[in-house]
Amino acid sequence: MAYSDKVIEHYENPLNVGTLDKNDEQVGTGLVGAPACGDVMRLQIKVGEGGVIEDAKFKTFGCGSAIASSSLATEWLKGKTIDEAETIKNSMIAEELHLPPVKIHCSVLAEDAIKSAIADFRAKQQAKRELTGAAPSGAAKSAASASAE
């Protein structure tokens, strides 16, 4: 398989590899995929004032395209509000990296990871509101366990 220059660039010099404190209430963690499928992506966002993503980190077990997709995703997330972040689509990642059809699912995983990290962040905020006062019960509780698709 021939890789695009952009995949190779992100793969060889991945941006934002690392770990944020998953217990920090400003941090949202998304862990998607499964080892048995050959791909697991963990993407974390740290959300600051006004819902702006201050930092994003990833760790990925997967092929070069999956690593490049995560690297690109974290780069795109930084500086966006979480509402803006939600509009990132796998097709945008696939297009930017020139992914061939068999590697589209690697970009899908990145989109899932973004969504899952945002959901985790929102759930934490919801839980915080519940703790501090009246809030609707039954808010989604999202652990750092995997969810995909």
Binding site: T19, G33, C37, D39, V40, K59, F61, S145, A148
Partner: protein
């Protein structure tokens, strides 16, 4: 000495033509270009003589008693097809049952699948965690309808050597034919059709430093005389078993390649084993969480199949792109399915995705092994720093206890 990049460590896929083989072949492209089937002039006689000589060498190579037992084909895929389909068709009045194993090459498995569609019954024997077929399983799978057992000499992915001699005793005693795809093992480990009771065997030149597109099928002529229905109609070449003008330069190269292994194979295997062990020792010393796939002792000299846990195989291949290896990871295959061989051995899909096959061979040097070991160690560590699974492993989380959402 400076290392020449890229480094080839994929000798199970194919091998370069040895220069001595090429030298032997060259005259047969031009000055000795005759058709071996031309009976009426010197051009034909010269070609025929070369082919006859090649047949003798190849018979000696696999321990066949009669050169006429060597049928030239285009390679092992064709040999496997002719052997299995040819026997199935010829002996269909005797029975319709074939026994093979789940870890055979696709040339055998897909041939068997086609026969199943035509009404044959096929038993696919399981293997143990090392990828070995149990001869007792062969014995107990035999029915009064069984006509053929097909088990490979050694597996192309994990290098596991099969107990062909033991299986041969069983098939002999039951009067059932035994075919062996000997492609990966012949010339590297002991293989002798007479001593092992093999009735049909597939061999290909390009895995033994010969050219691509030439191979042979051994078809036993006595005790018992094996009959096959030809699968290619035409001029009746190769004793009526495989029509088509012979690839004389290929045949000459094939035989020269075999001759070199008759002379040097034993010493070469010993050298390759020591190189492989050098690689293995380095990797095991400097990396944690790695697993050998296949048998620790009954394996091909040049095979080292390793799973580097928490690192995906294709990413690994990309990281060591100056080294040609292969992987059982789904990400490398068009089908997005991990290796069926590793799966059959009970190796989890996560480890299959992390597997890398190093294939060492004739032209592998100690310097290359050291270079590859250094590179692999560095890159595995780099990729593990990027792997969420390795981080979890380090935190003491059992990856298998996590509820993953398979997709």
């Amino acid at each position: 000495m400076a290392i020449q990049l890229p480094i080839y460590m994929d000798y199970h896929a194919t091998t370069p033509v040895d220069p001595r083989v090429l030298d032997a072949m060259l005259p047969y492209f031009n000055s000795k270009f005759g058709n071996a089937a031309s009976r009426s002039h010197v051009f034909g006689w010269t070609a025929e003589e070369a082919v006859g000589h090649a047949r003798e060498t190849l018979a000696r190579f696999i321990g066949a008693s009669n050169p006429k037992e060597i049928v030239f084909t285009s390679g092992a895929t064709e040999s496997d097809n002719i052997a299995i389909k040819g026997v199935a068709e010829f002996y269909k009045d005797k029975g319709n049952h074939i026994i093979t194993s789940v870890i055979e090459h696709k040339a055998v498995l897909d041939t068997c699948k086609r026969l199943e569609k035509q009404g044959y019954e096929v038993t696919y024997l399981k293997v143990d965690k090392y990828g070995r077929v149990d001869p007792d399983d062969v014995a107990s799978a035999i029915t009064d309808k069984t006509i053929l057992v097909s088990i490979m000499l050694a597996n192309n992915e994990v290098g596991t050597v099969q107990p062909i001699a033991e299986i041969g005793k069983i098939t002999k005693s039951k009067g059932i034919l035994l075919h062996s795809d000997a492609v990966q093992g012949v010339g590297k480990i002991p293989f002798n059709v007479e001593q092992m009771g093999v009735d049909l065997a597939s061999v290909t030149a390009h895995k033994i430093y010969g050219p691509k597109g030439i191979g042979c099928l051994y078809v036993r002529r006595s005790k018992p005389r094996v009959r096959i229905t030809s699968q290619m109609d035409g001029g009746g070449h190769e004793f009526g078993m495989r029509s088509g003008t012979l690839n004389v330069p290929g045949i000459v190269g094939f035989a020269r390649a075999a001759e070199l292994l008759i002379e040097e194979g034993e010493a070469e295997s010993a050298r390759i084993v020591s190189l492989r062990e050098r690689l293995r020792t380095r990797l095991w010393k400097e990396l944690d969480a790695i697993q050998l796939n296949g048998s620790p002792d009954r394996r091909l000299p040049g095979n080292l199949n390793v799973s580097f846990s928490f690192v995906e195989g294709e990413a690994m291949m990309m990281a060591i792109k100056d080294v040609a290896v292969s992987s059982g990871s789904a990400c490398t295959s068009a089908s997005l399915e991990p290796s069926y061989v590793l799966h059959a051995m009970g190796i989890g899909d996560d480890l299959a995705h992390s597997s890398i096959r190093f294939g060492l061979g004739r032209f592998t040097t100690e310097e290359e092994v050291d270079f590859v070991a250094d590179l692999v160690i560095r890159k595995v560590n780099k990729l593990r720093d990027m792997s969420p699974l390795y981080e979890m492993h380090k935190e003491g989380i059992d990856i298998n206890s996590v509820q993953w959402a398979a997709h």
